[in-house]
Symmetry: C5
Subunit: 354 residues, 5 copies
């Protein structure tokens, strides 16, 4: 969380529109993939910097420029010049810590998404940013992470699966967004399993580690929520097709992604409620355990304190203690001890303590 502010804070006092990379991945090589396709042909080329600005595709041809590992200001400036992109947009693309949003610049739509990345067990969730610039026949996508997140889409393009090759740049944007939303489900599934097993643990045998897990999941849910709500808004605006860049045929498709987002939000809220409930259960079972510990102590003390008093009584060294001289004094004390112990046990049994 804090990392994004560290970068933003670096820029305080600088004029807006200054292109400064605020992430921590300067070392990553940029990979620029340019894909041009229509229903019949597809050409894909890969570069490590943006060299040429070849705008015109053939008629009905869609150009997709995907930049992975964005950190070179120079490349971005060239892309910006080539596609006439507003300096504030370029600044946003470089800035880490953006929340999902859509901005309409008439000639193109600027869309920011957060992609949830699967992390190793016990680590915090990481959200990588994806910036999309959707023009009438081109789509620019910038991804801050290192992996090839859009590989399944590229596969579908190459194999001409589904209707993706027959439709425009807006459908391609939809496919990318759909993929991002689907990734949330992969993560939520993992959470679902863990929350379930955590629930069993809390009820059966909670440990301090259980508590820390509940806490960590709650924080993850807070983060997921924070990135899902604006995502929902973005997709709602795309579904309403406020921009002419989204063709009518895509309304139903975006409605479908929208439904998925709602289900994801619902699930996150449900998990939050369930996790909150677990905390109560945890505290209650701690309290329960304390009670049972104290019962053991009280039972022991209540039985042995009076007994020790009696034996201690007859350990006194008074000259004149008649009972000490009785033939069966000792055995009577032994008897009394047994009777008292049994009476105490019966008392606790009736109280339901044992």
């Amino acid at each position: 969380m804090a990392k994004s502010f560290r970068r933003m804070a670096r820029k305080v006092g600088m004029p807006p529109g200054s292109l400064v990379y605020t992430g921590d991945r300067e070392h990553l090589p940029a990979i620029i993939t340019i894909t041009r396709y229509n229903g019949y042909t597809i050409v894909e080329r890969q570069f490590d910097s943006f060299k040429e600005c070849q705008l015109a595709g053939g008629p009905g041809e869609v150009t997709w420029i995907n930049v992975t590992g964005i950190s070179k200001v120079r490349d971005l400036e060239q892309v910006g010049e080539c596609y006439k992109i507003h300096p504030l947009v370029l600044e946003d693309i470089l800035e880490v810590g953006q929340r999902p949003k859509v901005e309409d610049y008439d000639e193109y739509l600027y869309i920011v998404l957060n992609a949830i990345q699967p992390v190793a067990e016990g680590e915090e969730l990481v959200a990588e940013e994806i910036s999309l610039i959707l023009g009438p026949d081109y789509l620019l996508s910038f991804y801050s992470g290192a992996d090839d997140i859009f590989a399944p889409i590229r596969e579908r393009l190459l194999q001409a699966k589904g209707r993706i090759r027959k439709m425009g740049a807006d459908y391609l944007a939809y496919a990318l967004i759909d993929l991002v939303v689907d990734n949330y489900f992969v993560e939520l599934e993992r959470f679902g399993d863990q929350v379930e097993s955590l629930e069993d643990e809390v009820v059966a045998s909670p440990t301090p580690q259980t508590l820390r897990d509940v806490h960590r999941f709650k924080n993850d849910m807070i983060r997921l929520r924070k990135s899902l709500w604006p995502l929902r808004e973005v997709i709602a605006r795309l579904e309403r097709r406020e921009s002419l860049l989204i063709t009518e045929a895509l309304g139903n498709y975006f409605r479908d992604v929208y439904d998925h987002t709602i289900i994801a939000i619902d699930t996150v809220e449900t998990y939050r409620d369930i996790l909150s409930g677990m905390l109560d259960i945890y505290l209650s079972s701690m309290s329960n355990r304390l009670n049972s510990i104290m019962k053991v102590l009280t039972i022991i003390a209540t039985i042995f304190m009076p007994l020790t008093f009696i034996t201690s009584l007859y350990g006194m060294n008074f000259k004149n203690m008649p009972e000490l001289q009785w033939e069966y004094g000792y055995f009577m004390v032994l008897g009394a001890v047994v009777v008292i112990a049994l009476a105490m046990l019966e008392y606790f049994r009736r109280k339901g303590w044992i």
Copy 2:
């Protein structure tokens, strides 16, 4: 909960509109029931697959096709072709984990409902999905469960009870929705009884099991709520008759179901509030019990520790201990013991501990 994501996750990266069954009931045989009726005649036939596509009913005739145990992609594709249903709708029908919604596709309305299924004591609530496709003179219904949930409606159709035979496909849809909402009440009644007896238990003699029951009910309420709120929205939209497929006469009927949904939501919220209150009561009575346990311990310790000290004092072996030689030393100690014990008891009585 988690199950639906497991299925959805299976589809990541696939083109939208791919028909894949995401439930876990592949083994169930599909039962397709086609009912054609008007005010005078009714014909009901049952198949195990969808073979013919006979669209035209007689004038004023309503066709109801009910598919139970939907898992065969093939059947669904045929139904889709026959009634010209959008691929995304077919995809949604197969997808488990949908939330209630209504979508207007001009020629038909696509309605998704969740039907609460009664479960055995101690199990989690299960919501089965029902998809309805309402056309001008036909209704397609798809049910993911195994049982014949619509049997009472079929009965009413056969016996021409009420006005169901005299009205159109929209009334039939209303009757199905009404039945689904009524089933919520059956479940809520069961909950009401259990919540009441749980309340008595919490106040009288709470056990860790009580706590787990409260927790489970709270989660059930979270789930019911999650499925009732969108259901309310669906019915509100049907009541406003945004689609021409709902005739004016049905406005009052949908308002009636809407009222029922509101009552159900109200009740769920009330139960949630009451269950939350129970947790407080539980924690408080745990705390109460701890206090009374500690009182027992403290009383015992406070009485016997000083007494044991005294007896232990006179158990010392000093050569020169004048009291030991006193004729009535022992009896004075006995007296002191009784006096101290009584004083302590009186002290605790005044403090209100005993």
Copy 3:
């Protein structure tokens, strides 16, 4: 709470509009009171069933038919036929568990209210239903309870108090609603007194019973709230005079009742907040008590354990224990005991424990 569902559940699968009484008061005799009045004359008659359907009153005459103890389906059907009332309305009148609502059927308004009934100390709040059907010159009122709740209104009619005899059926409806709202205040006053005395109790000397009372009041508040919010909405709609059946002159009157409803809701919310605060106080004072109990125990143990150790030390039977032979050994031990005890007490005094 649960009772209403038990009845509703009875009707699952029946066609809508079926007249079934779902309450538990079948044994109550129905009392039908017909009152006809204008500014000059008033006639009141009482029946035990609805026999005639005499619609036309004289010009400017208002007809008020009040049915107490509604349970006979037959009577209701006759009333329904006579005044041409929609079957769904008749069904709603018989159904227990309705929430306040107003429905406009053009020729008449159908209004449902919940009347709070005073209950004996310690019992749960009961809300009885009142159904009003307001036509242009008649008012039908159905009351599910046994008592004559509308007696004060009848009195005002007979004695021509205020402006009630000079105004139409809508004013009569207003008077009934005003009475229902006023009854909430009687109940809230009672609650106010009890909450105040409960507050003193929680602060001064809480017992488990206090906790149970707080819990019960909280549940009562949940119930009151549940019935007040929709009531507020009903009166707001009447105030806006969406129906032509409410004459303009009544706007101010309904605004007045509306204000009262808002005050009642405000009060319920305030009580809820105060009761929630009490729970915290209760838990905190339990925790306080535990602390003071444990202090007693710790003080006793900390003083007597070292002392008993010392005496026990000199109770050992070693052959060679020089101190035992000292002339003043015993008195030195006694002195040490007093010094240690005083030092401990001083220590606890400084810690603020005693």
Copy 4:
């Protein structure tokens, strides 16, 4: 709180518009002050009852009739007749327990405000009602309290401070409302100081009294909130100048008061949040203390129980106990005692308990 309902309940069943004083200040003498002013002259007279009805002031003259200690129904009726005030308004003026509201009766505006009265330390907050009736060139104000709350305004009028004498009755109403809102700040300042010192107390040395203070302040905040929210709404409506009785020039002034109300609400909400946080701190520090108490007990018991066991062992009277005959047996036991005690202390030191 409860007091207002006691009065309201008194009126159940009476026809609306009945003038009944529902407060508890019947003993207070009414003081009626009539002030007539314009930019040049000002006349102020005081009566103990309303005798004449002299409506017409000179052109540009404003008439302010202030009634303090309203309880005489007779006076109010005369005022009502003279200024043609709706019976429901008169009823509301007499009724204690009103919430802030504004009602437009075309010829005049009826405004209800709650004025916070400073109370002695430890008492509950009291809100007195102020009713304003604002006509085109007159302002009637009714105040339920005993003190001369409007003295500063009267002073400003007499001394012609600021622009008050140059402006109309609406400005006078604004000045009164501004004064009422300013009084909230006096109270909030007092609260601020107390909350701050309470915060120090909770953190440093909480006692049960601290808890009760937190509880009392929370209830005060609930009450303030309850009276500030509707006040905000009242001023918002005045600012929007929905009535023609508010001249355009006053828009900015009411916006200013509105801002103050928002700041007051903000502050109340902030105090509520801070007070809620204090409860958590209190509970946590109680829990902390319990832990430290239990540590003392455990340390003492853990050190002395084994020691006492050892000494008790050698206090046994067996014939054959070789150690007892050893020359240095006693000193070895003494040594063991010291070693064990030191080991225990080291153990607890390592555990961080001492």
Copy 5:
């Protein structure tokens, strides 16, 4: 917090528009900086009082008058006269405790902002007020603090960095607002680091100081939130360009600041949620510790009480105690002691206590 009310309360009863400085910085000297610039030239002069009123700048010239350490009523009055500013605005500028707002006075916009000031570790957050008056070609800025908060902007103006010198007074206002929002991020970054380290502390080794830190951060978050929400609203209104004083080109810039505000609010809410979660963790780990303390006590007591009882038994002085005469009696007791102790330890090991 409370300080602002202390000042406001000072003004109760004074006519509105009275210029009274309500801050506590009377001792600060006022510094008035007048900057005039266009794309080509820039002139900056500094005064300690406002002497001349030179309105007209050259065409396309922007005048920026910045007043730091505002406390001299005289200066403000002169500024007010010169630029024809409404008395209520002047009053607001002097008043401490304003919340962010924007008011449109046609000829100029009045904007209030709160600037977060970095404070030393452990102190409370302080928000200083900034008042901006934006006219068509001038900007007046008033800052209540002592430091030169706008230095970076002045630097950019002098060095003609970015487009600031080429644009109008509205861009200058934007630059100031952007700076204020950026300062929030500096503060949030600091918080982020502290919250993270606090989180580790709560989980690893919470102390009462941890709790106090959590409490203090929560209060800081409450304060940040209180100043961020209205700030967001202010910027939203500027972005919508409701006033003609904001030129169209600035829409995108204000949208950018708006996004930043949203991210800041999001972060504050996230921190609040996380801090709330920490309190639960704290309480739970306190409860955990208590349990482990009590386990130690119970284990010790349960082992040594029975043992001490046995030894005490054979310390009795009865004449007839056969065991005492047994040759190996003592050793049998020693054996029993070891066996009992081991059995107890095994019991606790099985219970999972050790």
